[in-house]
């Protein structure tokens, strides 16, 4: 950042004594107005423009999980807090494996139990997912602290805009089964206020409901509010140019989202 051309130095109007005419000394010194760069702005005087950068992080991402991770720089930190208060949903793809149960619900933990899983079909899985969605919908309405008896509550419920706007336990707004190939399966989960460990626990509970057991092999966040995988920069692109482009592209989206919600 420091290598980039800095801001043009401030200009100030100064009255400078003009070089005195060569003929004879004395006489009135003429003052000529001239635009002169202020010495205080000279890079050698001021030093490098950026010494420290304030970087803040968005919603937490586990060590074992991967995906979109939002960072804010400088003024972006304030936008980060505002985005946090918007309570937008995050989308994860969760991969799981039937037949094993471990103590930390992922495939790297200590084995607790092995079970059979050949009775599991896609329909059974989808039924369980429908139940999970149903109970979470109820939790959504309950934690949003809206009085159910008002007309506004009804209208918001019709549009599907009821969301908990404060602290709440993890809520899953939608689940969908993307792939199902015994013993593996992949789900797409839309959730609020969750942690990755909660998603792994959910995979484990799905296994229990289906009278078997399951562990989570992969958790990947594909969308965090307005930022999706398409906007995200992979490891190879962590350089200034791409970061600046990415910030520029996302600014508009962030602004519209903030306006919509607040």
């Amino acid at each position: 950042l420091n290598a980039a051309p800095g801001r043009a130095p401030r200009q100030r109007v100064r009255f400078l004594p003009a070089p005195a005419p060569a003929s004879g000394g004395g006489g009135a010194v003429e003052l000529v107005a001239a635009r002169v760069p202020v010495l205080a702005d000279h890079p050698l005087v001021r030093g490098p423009r950026f010494r420290k950068l304030k970087i803040g992080a968005g919603h937490r991402l586990d060590v074992k999980a991967s995906g979109v991770f939002v960072l804010g720089i400088g003024h972006g930190n304030k936008l980060l807090t505002e985005l946090y208060n918007c309570h937008l949903t995050k989308v994860y793809t969760v991969r799981g494996l039937f037949g094993k149960a471990t103590d930390d619900f992922s495939d790297t933990g200590n084995l607790v139990e092995k079970t059979t899983f050949d009775h599991i079909t896609r329909e059974k899985l989808e039924r369980i997912l429908a139940v999970i969605q149903g109970t979470n919908q109820k939790a959504l309405l309950m934690y949003s602290n809206i009085d159910m008896k008002t007309q506004e509550a009804y209208e918001l419920a019709v549009k599907g805009l009821i969301r908990p706007m404060g602290k709440s336990p993890p809520i899953i707004t939608a689940v969908r089964c993307l792939q199902f190939a015994l013993p593996e399966f992949q789900l797409e989960v839309h959730c609020l206020h969750e942690t990755q460990q909660y998603l792994r626990k959910m995979v484990h509970e799905i296994g229990l409901e289906l009278k078997s057991s399951a562990v989570c092999t992969q958790v990947r966040r594909i969308r965090d509010g307005v930022f999706s995988v398409d906007d995200a920069l992979p490891r190879t692109q962590w350089n200034l140019q791409s970061i600046q482009e990415a910030i520029w592209n996302c600014q508009f989206k962030v602004e519209t989202e903030l306006e919509k919600t607040l």
Partner: protein, 433 residues
């Protein structure tokens, strides 16, 4: 492991070997079948829930539970195929060929559950039945006849069999049991169960209103008997009828595929998707065709909402389900579109997003609708149950005591197959996962 080797953490190979050697547990085999269960909730002091420990606790520390606010599982001996809730009592029927086919619980002051011989005094009967007790039906071939459907009204009940007609029991002061009204008849502790066989073809559906009975036959005709002061018998007069008589009016010649009633208003759906109504119209249920408050002849209701698949009548409000899966409500009371909609004469649609429809799951559709006295219930093809309406003594099953102004999910551990709504309690038949 030799003595010369240090302990240390198990290596990856050892872990893998331990994992492969671990025993495999089997919880459900390939032939694991889904079980059918019955869940009840609502007001329990009448015994209608069938759980005696709610009314008379069997352990010292238990307290009597007046209201069961969330679904509670009821253990039954057989698989229940049909259930009906009346005013404080419930009937459960199974499709078996065994001798015991129908169980009843709840109020029995008018012998609506048949004669339940009291154990203390062999001559008298129980007035409150707290547990599902078998109802003895006078069948000619008890081991061949199957019970198809049961229905309950305010103080009478109907049992439909496949080959022996309809059995009626309970209060007959208005002829709702289909037999001649006997003055000053004492209904409590009565052994009388009347059998009705004279219809033009086999009866396929029986429906009880508050004090009247409706029978739908295979040919698509409707018979009615009972109280008619609101015109709910649809026979063209306001007197009581004690013999099932055929209905005419706008439904003459129309093949009716479903009929419904719970209070004093009745609705019938034809095979072409038209809906006909008669009976009480004080709450604007039939106001789209007439200004009078009682209609005693079936009238066609010209609603332009699409082909209608199913209709359900409540005490003050009605609901229909169209072929596309949309739910329309009209009438008076908490109709399900927020607290502002209290009464309407024209059907209003409830947005499908309230039933779980969204871009994420666009194939969710309401499969059936049911009505209690002031509540509505609808369940989807995924097996989710939604209720709304007046929460009388916890009958909605949401866990809260407040009235519900828009459809709300009831968490039932299973896929809901059928629901029966009563005045202050509900029964649902659920299949486990």
């Amino acid at each position: 492991r030799g003595l010369g080797v240090a302990a240390g953490p198990p290596s990856t190979r050892q872990l893998r070997e331990a994992e492969e050697a671990a025993p495999v547990f089997q919880y459900a085999g390939k032939a694991a079948r889904r079980k059918d269960r019955v869940f009840v909730w609502g007001f329990s002091y009448s015994g209608a829930l069938g759980v005696p420990s709610f009314v008379r606790p069997d352990a010292g520390w238990k307290k009597p539970r007046r209201i069961q606010p969330t679904p509670y599982r009821l253990e039954t001996e057989e698989k229940i195929s049909s259930a009906a809730c009346g005013y404080g009592f419930t009937l459960l029927a199974s499709n078996t060929r065994d001798v015991t086919k129908v169980w009843g619980m709840g109020l029995n002051k008018d012998s609506q559950l048949g004669f339940q011989r009291s154990r203390r005094d062999q001559t008298k009967g129980y007035e409150y039945v707290l547990e599902p007790s078998p109802i003895p039906l006078p069948l000619e071939k008890p081991q061949q006849t199957r019970v198809l459907q049961v229905s309950c009204g305010r103080a009478h009940s109907l049992v439909l069999t496949d080959s022996e007609g309809v059995f009626t029991m309970g209060n007959n002061s208005y002829g709702q049991c289909g037999r001649k009204v006997v003055e000053d008849e004492i209904y409590s502790g009565s052994h009388l169960i009347h059998q009705l066989k004279e219809f033009d073809s086999r009866v396929v559906q029986v429906v009880c209103g508050q004090d009247h009975s409706l029978f739908r036959t295979k040919k698509g005709t409707i018979y009615a008997c009972g109280w008619g002061a609101d015109g709910q018998t649809g026979l063209g007069h306001y007197n009581i009828t004690s013999v099932p008589t055929k209905l005419h009016g706008d439904i003459a010649g129309v093949n009716i595929i479903q009929v419904s009633s719970y209070g004093d208003c009745c609705l019938a759906v034809s095979d072409e998707g038209d809906v006909f109504g008669w009976g009480n119209s004080e709450y604007l249920q039939l106001a789209s065709v007439t200004e009078t408050t009682q209609v005693n002849v079936p009238r066609h209701l010209p609603f332009k909402i699409g082909k209608i698949k199913e209709a359900a009548c409540g005490g003050t409000g009605n609901v229909v389900l169209t072929e596309e899966g949309n739910v329309f409500v009209w009438g008076y009371g908490i109709l399900g579109k927020g607290p502002n909609l209290i009464e309407t004469a024209v059907p209003e649609m409830i947005p499908p997003s309230l039933f779980g429809w969204s871009d994420f799951s666009p194939d969710i559709r309401v499969a059936h609708v049911r009505c209690g006295l002031s509540q509505f219930a609808a369940f989807t093809n995924r097996g989710e149950l939604f209720v709304w309406g007046k929460n009388l003594r916890g009958c909605l099953g949401t866990g809260r005591m407040e009235d519900q102004y828009f459809p709300w999910r009831v968490t039932v551990p299973g896929e809901v197959v059928d629901v029966a709504c009563g005045v202050d309690h509900m029964v649902s038949m659920v299949r486990s996962f």
